[in-house]
Symmetry: D2
Subunit: 358 residues, 4 copies
């Protein structure tokens, strides 16, 4: 079979507004409900015995997250909203031109969404594009529903793929713009962040065996909201759900936390990146050896954060096969016996923050 093309020169890609929702397959729906609703406080827009539709407090479209009961945990789709109904047609034509599998459903794939197309993209990810959506109440003013760790927006996805520049070529082709990346002195790209809305990203590519979903990120208003989630996980004796952080990212300048749901799906809680909406928004390039790129405070990235990710499913719900990354991994070049990082470039003294922590 011919692999899909990365770009379709001459074809107009869909005008993507933003990342809109993810559909995750979970193996124990009750356990997932406890995690996302009881602990994280996402709002149930609809639920039945097999599915839960969740949204953040400032959202007005039907959902930002669909949890669907299934035998194997995985990411069923990453969905983007497009600007007009016609953009769904453009998306379908575009991916067909790329040679990708597509499936169009005028009544939508999930509750609350109308006409939509799902595709397996050139990187192997299941993407959905839709315009039509049920409006629900934007609960922004409903402070009686806020928890101390209130999640107010879906912010972004993060995808693992073996060859980041190849992924960038494809995503730039459908209109994404790079805001930041991590490179080394030889030009190897380890990760890149891309946006449609006015934030640092709607999705990011992390180099590694893929296609896999690295995480889905929700926003809070303030940093203390993220700390409150940690405090609550501790109170519930579930602090082992905290994988990494909280901390300040170098990339994006946002404050972050990574937690793992009962199936191991990674959720980031994120706040306070910067406006990127200008056409000439400066791209920030980070040196892979800069110890503050992933955590501005130099705190270590745990190995699981580099190695673990969720499988993604094809349009039939079958896990996609993985391709290994051929270039060096970020983990290998930065930590442990084989890697090195610096706090101050040219400063050879490696303190307790770099070597001894891992």
């Amino acid at each position: 079979m011919t692999p899909p093309s990365l770009t379709a020169p001459g074809l107009t890609p869909p005008d993507i507004v933003r990342c809109a929702y993810a559909e995750l397959v979970v193996t124990d729906l009750a356990a997932s409900r406890e995690f996302y609703v009881d602990i994280l406080g996402l709002v149930v827009s609809y639920e039945d015995e097999n599915t839960i539709y969740l949204r953040s407090l400032e959202e007005f479209i039907h959902h930002n997250l669909v949890l669907r009961r299934g035998p194997i945990a995985g990411a069923a789709v990453l969905a983007f909203r497009v600007r007009t109904p016609g953009d769904v047609d453009l998306a379908e034509a575009y991916y067909q031109a790329l040679g990708c599998r597509t499936e169009r459903r005028p009544d939508g794939f999930v509750r609350g969404i109308g006409d939509a197309v799902r595709v397996i993209d050139p990187l192997g990810f299941p993407y959905e594009f839709f315009y039509a959506v049920d409006h629900v109440e934007r609960l922004a003013w409903h402070y009686e529903l806020y928890t101390p760790g209130a999640l107010v927006r879906l912010d972004h996805f993060n995808q693992v793929t073996p060859d980041v520049p190849r992924g960038l070529e494809y995503l730039e082709g459908i209109g994404f713009r790079v805001t930041e990346d991590i490179e080394d002195e030889d030009g190897i790209v380890y990760a890149a962040w891309m946006r449609r809305k006015d934030t640092v990203h709607d999705t990011a590519l992390t180099g590694g065996a893929g296609p896999r979903l690295h995480h889905v990120a929700f926003s809070t208003h303030e940093k203390h909201n993220i700390l409150a989630i940690c405090d609550k996980l501790g109170a519930l004796r579930r602090s082992d759900a905290i994988e990494r952080g909280p901390g300040r990212h170098g990339v994006s300048n946002a404050f972050y936390l990574y937690i793992r749901d009962p199936d191991g799906h990674r959720i980031e809680i994120y706040t306070q990146d910067y406006y990127t909406g200008d056409p000439d928004n400066p791209v920030v390039r980070w040196d892979v050896h800069d110890n503050q790129r992933r955590d501005w405070w130099g705190n270590p990235v745990v190995p699981s954060w580099y190695t673990d990710a969720s499988v993604v499913l094809d349009l039939d719900g079958v896990p996609q096969p993985l391709a290994e990354r051929e270039q060096p991994s970020e983990m290998a070049v930065t930590i442990g016996a084989d890697g090195f990082s610096y706090t101050r470039k040219g400063d050879v003294d490696e303190g307790f923050k770099l070597g001894a922590q891992l």
Copy 2:
């Protein structure tokens, strides 16, 4: 003289990216510098004996605020960035078609800005449109420069105009979208908020004698940053610069503070409104009698906030004449002997928060 048209059907308006900077004429440049630099912590991009160029910490274009010494305090221009160099041409042609005075300067009107056009718009405001701009360092990661009340972005302008629907017709014609407004049961519109970027507004129209500039707003990351500005003004025995707030807006759901600079120009400090970037973002309409519309906590709006605003200057620096509002004023219909407001619609009991406070 024929008044300008409000719209130019058939002409393509410029693609406005966002509000970008304001130029204010101040009568005592040293006093203004103390206010904006020493107290508020804006960063000096450039200054000479007559002018100071200031930016917020996350900005990468040359400035967000120009302070220029002059004999009469006023607003010299409200400047918007457009998407491409060609959009400056579109802007010039558009306003000429409206019958507005325009002035084009390929080298820009102020330092740091290139090819730009300034116009006196149909509402009497001096607007500038530009694409070309010097990039400066985005100081987002320079936490050693942050003060407790750090201002990170320019958020919006707010303009006073007698006839809000007339102003809306014009601004929608050049591409702004309404996000919220304040109306009464007879359809009288008292104020409206309009956006280009993904926030609640890039500018707003407030009904009143105009054209006048109501305020320029800067963003902080968190609410405590705004409180810190109040604390500092108190410590400097300048708490009388605090005009209104801090508080939570009903409109926009943002946390706010209004302060007055040494010339009386009003600056809002603002944080945490919501994402509005979807094409069908729901418009929020507030009842003018709802006591929580302007302050979600029902705290009184001081009369000066309704009555005071900065004169705006024409392209020669001459103050624009004012036209009075013919419809009822929001202040008159909501506070004092002639107005009424409610906390709970239909609840006749007016407590100490409504009547007795003013």
Copy 3:
């Protein structure tokens, strides 16, 4: 009848540890429960059809607030914990020596409290002193119970009495120390703050017709917690419960909010005063005309805050008669036609913050 003495020279007063709980009579217990439990998030230690016992999240004694159903709203008691069981004896003897009515109950007056004495003190207030108390779980680590506006401690009482120096003489006699006060250039004292624990106060005296209870104050950890209470009251369309603030106090340097419960009892929410535990802790004296004494940001004090307070009950539950203040009132000397305040001493210019707001 001979009025009670203010001091009992030669007698050892009880060693008071801190303010511990207040008992308030409320006329609609369900409405009060909604206010204190559903809205403010205080924890129910025990409740029956006539009484609710509430505590803050960091408390380990049985309760900080007792709500008791009754025909007339009032304050039934202000209770202080003493250091040893013997201090209850000392308290009883001390107040008997003053000529005050006392009542001793070895089994306590309310659930959860053991041997206690209640008195009507020389100022007419019902005070209780106890040592024996049931311990309950300190919920400090139970973050799953925290709301965004979590109340973590009882901080202080505030009492209205006509003659503040007279009240000070009595309270210093039983061991309180002054931390701050408000005076004028003639030495008239308008209010004073007194402590036992290491904070600015366990109780304060506010000059006015008394005896009345001005307010009971609970602490939060951070300022955003207080803002969250305001936001929630707005969301519930109960913003008219917000009487004054939020703001920064001059006196105490704490961040504050005053709200009114369904019976009009005033509750302060308070955070971040300073350590006062040293024996020579400096007393801070504020000029009554300093516009930043009550609100550091110069925001106006609403008249109701000066005029309204809860009646207090005698040991039979009968409202205590009021004595008027004979000296000038703080409200009269500072606001309105008869008063004046300054932001900068000697600065005659009174701006919109002083005159025009009230």
Copy 4:
């Protein structure tokens, strides 16, 4: 030589008010000044070429920290304020009765402090007791001096000693009360926290080779202040000064950060523990294997935090010899190949947070 006794039955110990200041010997005074003044924002009360006296923003005694230039970095003294001048006499007599070396100086050992006694206590630590002190301005209201990470109080010391129960016996003898400790099922005590003022501690004992100073802790008002210090260290490319955290303690429930000064002296930044002033304040006992005892979020304690500490000096400035801990170390029993920790007691599954992180 006879070792000193731990207690002096029948003798009245001094009435200690609180921990008051530490004197640290530093090898590069300019580097230390940059760290404590330029980065942390402590206020200089006095400085000359060999010494810098620093205080926190809410302090009214002359200093909380003395930095003195010397050839070997170490802790020269831990100083406590006592309630009366006579308590200095009591302290001198008490330690003489214990058989400890004491030195009395009526004019004080350092600037700003009057009559004081220094001792080498039974654990080998240099302690000072004083009452007389110069008052300086309490800068609490001087918000123009606040940085985003403003330090407002000295909170506590933490001392390393081999035998914690032995240390407790001594410290309880001079009036300290235990608030929390860490034990195992065999009753081995790994650490204990003791207070005089109304907080969780004025000092703590950590089991290990001693006498050494583990850290000195300063308080901020809010958690974001601590995050701001991390952000600033990152901005200055000094993130390697961050040793551990930020995080939430289990013990004390406070939010924390540990940083290391240029000589390796450890400073904790700390906020929001709870009130402990009642005589029957409940003691909290933590299981040494509870993975949330040191960090409520289960984040790993770095080995250096367990192993490193500052030498302490005798009254002649000579480093005290160390005695090793004979009981198991907390590090050995909880992390790595020899130790174990749990998130949920009885839950055998050890996730990535426990084993794989170290």
